[in-house]
Symmetry: C2
Subunit: 137 residues, 2 copies
Amino acid sequence: MGKSITRARRSECPINIALEIFGDSWSLLVIRDLLFHEQRTFNEFQKSAEGIASNVLADRLARLEAAGIIIKSENASDARRYDYRLTDKGVALAPVLIEIIVWSAQYEETDPAPGAARKMSAQRKKFLALLRKKLVV
Amino acid sequence: MGKSITRARRSECPINIALEIFGDSWSLLVIRDLLFHEQRTFNEFQKSAEGIASNVLADRLARLEAAGIIIKSENASDARRYDYRLTDKGVALAPVLIEIIVWSAQYEETDPAPGAARKMSAQRKKFLALLRKKLVV
């Protein structure tokens, strides 16, 4: 359940397999928007500060859906649009993103300030439990 | 100190900045080889199962060095070759890789088995302390 469609992998290393799924410079931004920013539609993802191109966004949404990380459903008010949400497999990426935030805030010039990231790190378990409660249906 | 050379970022989000540094399908494999597989030369990285092309490997090593994640020094026995090692900033990526391993082993068909990854996860602190002791000079 929740496994990606099997195809030739470069190797069976868990890091490699993860990178074959989300190892690009955009996929984890979509997951970030779903996890932390309560965004759920194509238009919302597209408005994020990084300025993802619509063809790239469409490709990444399709790939994340094929990998069982996100799932889409018809928008309640507009049947031509989709709402996206994270699956359990997608929410389970939260610890990866948190460790990236902690690292990046420590070693790069980022916003928010390192203090906020350190707090997120120190209260990792509490923070993750709250996220899961909010996102896992 | 240890900050990357400043250039136009897509945004100041810590996840985005990290992805601008290592958000591709190869960079974290080189970091994996340095962290867990005790590899340190161009030839050793190139022999990893994923079969990285030499031009891609050269590009990623240069980028990781520019970002202050790895550092190179002349090989003791052959001055035409370089040995690479992780800086403190590079070793600090270990928690990111561990969370990726834990996620991947849980949701994908990987080698090693999920049991090993769960153990790594449960003994995270001990495992990270050992890694740091081995790698930080």
